[in-house]
Symmetry: C2
Subunit: 212 residues, 2 copies
DNA sequence: GTCTATATGGCGATAGAC
DNA sequence: GTCTATCGCCATATAGAC
């Protein structure tokens, strides 16, 4: 290979290199919590235990770091949704399974829903830029899936895109507004009990939305 | 009165005073589009045709201006919802009417949903500060309304707060993500045709969510 | 890979003239 | 009520030592 990934460090100073992945994780949380404009590189550097300038060794600009964070999130979501849609069974079983998978995913990745909602409302420039086609593919795929379910009679006939947007909104809003909703529910929405209640409720809600 | 609201201007310079309401409208759009952190007072001042420093005659701080904008939006939403819930008719008719009212409102006020979603995900400090009680009252009121509908058998029995959050998410996400959704729908979602399609679809969706 | 030091610019906010 | 001028701070980003 051309670039030699030197395994052993030189005897010099760089004794505790911080992984690029760790930086992305820290940045993901920061961007999710305060948005792109509201997050400074100092915040991220502090959380990582390095100086702000050191970030520029790993990423050329703040926007590149942000885009890389969002690319990861969108890729995960995309493959999750695509896989679930391709399973066996009738459309009702498939939408149930998809609902459960998405709730599980957002429950285990508290930053994801917030980042996606921020992008959806136009806070960052990823979905309107590099992530545009992937986002379109996911949404179009959802609409096609729902329409197919209507064609075979498993789902009630209705505008598929309207249905798709509503379902996405139900999924995202619950987790993205975690602070407000935790206050409303009287308990942290990421607690196991609320999470399982949400899963059961949402599966039933989305099913009646599609079928009823 | 003590402060004399001099109707006739002195012959001096201030020939075109900009109304406080106009400033709030401009600020509302700016905050909705770029968020609190992403909006600079220069932007607002430019849009208003005055200098940045002149804003401080009307508002003490950037946060005060922002809070005033959000206070207006939340007050409107609150009274809209409270009034609709108190109407006559069974619960199905009432939830239908409420759905229509909300779609109409967001359709006529493109900034509102975005501002509310931004606050819900913790971008600004209004809902977690001055607007906390109002927000709680609205959400609690919604849950109580839905629970009452279940008690009399108009609505299917289910966790009322889970239902409330889902409905709010459906309403907000469609309008707040106007750019992405317009691209997805292939037409501006604020166009009359999409707006009426959304109203019809969402009314049916929310009804089957509550009843089905 | 991380550091210090620095360049450059925009931000919120204030003072005081008109 | 709006202006010009300015202050102090923090932002992104760069240069170069170690």
């Amino acid at each position: 290979m051309v670039t030699k990934r030197t395994r052993k460090r030189k005897p010099g100073r760089p004794s505790k290199p911080i992984g690029r992945e760790k930086l992305l994780t820290i940045a993901r949380t920061a961007f999710a919590e305060h948005g792109y404009a509201g997050t400074s590189l100092s915040t991220i550097a502090d959380a990582a235990g390095i100086r702000k300038a050191s970030l520029y060794y790993h990423f050329d600009t703040k926007e590149e770091l942000y885009f890389e964070v969002l690319s990861g999130v969108l890729t995960n979501m995309s493959s999750l949704i695509m896989n679930a849609q391709l399973g066996e069974g009738n459309f009702v079983d498939r939408i149930d399974r998809l609902s459960e998978l998405v709730v599980d995913y957002f429950g285990e990745h508290p930053d994801a829903s917030r980042l996606l909602v921020r992008e959806a409302i136009g806070d960052g420039d990823f979905l309107s830029g590099p992530g545009k086609e992937v986002a379109q593919r996911v949404l179009d795929g959802a609409a096609i899936f729902l329409e197919a379910g209507m064609k075979v009679g498993d789902f009630r006939k209705q505008p598929p895109k309207q249905l798709a947007i509503s379902i996405v909104g139900m999924h995202l809003f619950f987790f993205a507004s975690s602070g407000m909703n935790s206050q409303f529910m009287g308990e942290d929405i990421f607690s196991p009990s609320i999470l399982s209640e949400r899963k059961e409720s949402l599966v039933a809600q989305i099913r009646s939305l599609c079928v009823g």
